[in-house]
Amino acid sequence: MKTISASKIKEKVSDLCIKANLFLPLDVLKLLKNARRRETSQSARSALDAIITNAAVARRQKLAICQDTGLPVVFLELGQDLRIRGSLKQAIYQGVESGYRRGYLRESVVTDPVSRGKPVYRGAVIHTEIVKGNRLKITLMPKGFGCENKSQLVMLSPTAGVNQIKEFIVGAVRKAGADACPPYIIGVGIGGTADYACLLAKIALLGRRTRSSRLEKELLKGINRLKIGPMGMGGKTTALTVVVESAPTHIAGLPVAVNISCHALRRASTVL
């Protein structure tokens, strides 16, 4: 059986924190550049130019793309034939702390959500999926809270139908307005339970799929009709893309969750 040490995982997570926060993923950059080509209004163009330049400045000068270096969300795809020596959970927490410190990132986390206190480098949300094989894939997504705050969940009636689903999703973006750094990437989770729909909406932001479904295309059109535009300056691009993940659900319900990402959708992966 293949074995990897917790210390190796810590090291990799530490590197991922820096990589994710400094280097905008190429798929996101491509979406931004395509949007720039489509926009005709001067203010939308200049907003997108600033966003694209910002990514280059961050990369070149080793600065965080955004000062909100987020609450790190860690997705693990853990091979069932892999053995880990030491504590996986501790390795991730320690890796996050070390990476955020080394990368001069921001202390954006309070350990007690009620009493708050001084922000620290600790803390991460970890989602684990057991998969075939003997490898461990780690994906780290630093999620800023300007956009996380605009997340929404609704438990629709099972007879609601697709129009009500669309209305809810477009409505969530309308409510977010320009607050969450448009143009957005919209993650949607449909089905499962309340908690699982929310997780699916987050997973949708991972960029695992490249082809858009009919529903996704229609949602993108509906959202872009809101004309919020880059940085709220108006224009064609309120969202760059919409991704819907779905799962079986109960005959009595229809959970729908929306997770909005700002234009700085940051993530980095590694396979061990």
Partner: protein, 170 residues
């Protein structure tokens, strides 16, 4: 594009949608700092900085890497400060810099106090860092990135979001 040092008189002449570059001093303050400032004002206590004629920047900067004055330093969502802003405007601040829209109550308070609300490039903290010449924590240092920092800025890019007449573009 106009290059400006701000005063209430200058701000009174600016119109929503206008772009400018700000050189001068601004102060960061976000959620917890607002909470504390509001408590102090309501209790009739002195605030740790003189708020009169100040520009408040809704920002919690990232750590400054070695050899730099500041890390990434873009704006945070302004609407979370809406509940405190009318009070701060009444206490004498000149205006705010942030991202996103404001509540009708804030727009009314801006008009009443002849204040101003600026937008800056949202989600562009690395780009904005180059317009900051110095950053010094001056109050509530126990809050880390949420402390109040005095920033000296040069040519900091702004767009008038809500002008002193209450006209808005957002």
């Amino acid at each position: 594009m106009r290059k400006l040092q701000l005063s209430r008189k200058v701000c009174g002449g600016l119109n929503a949608g206008e772009r400018l570059k700000l050189s001068g001093v601004i102060y960061t303050a976000r959620d917890q700092a607002h909470c504390r400032l509001a408590k102090a004002i309501r209790a009739g206590r002195k605030t740790p900085i003189d708020l009169r004629e100040k520009i408040i920047y809704y920002c919690g900067p990232a750590k400054a890497p070695k050899g730099r004055v500041i890390g990434s330093c873009g704006p945070t969502t302004s609407s979370r400060m809406d509940e405190f802003t009318p009070l701060l405007l009444k206490a004498g601040i000149l205006g705010m810099i942030g991202k996103g829209g404001r509540s009708p109550g804030v727009v009314r308070a801006i008009k009443r106090n002849k204040g101003i609300y600026f937008l800056t490039f949202a989600g562009c903290g690395a780009l904005l860092a180059k317009y900051v010449r110095s950053a010094t924590p001056v109050a509530y240092k126990d809050l880390g990135p949420e402390a109040i920092y005095r920033l000296e800025v040069r040519d900091f890019p702004l767009i008038v979001g809500v002008d002193s007449k209450g006209k808005r573009i957002i």
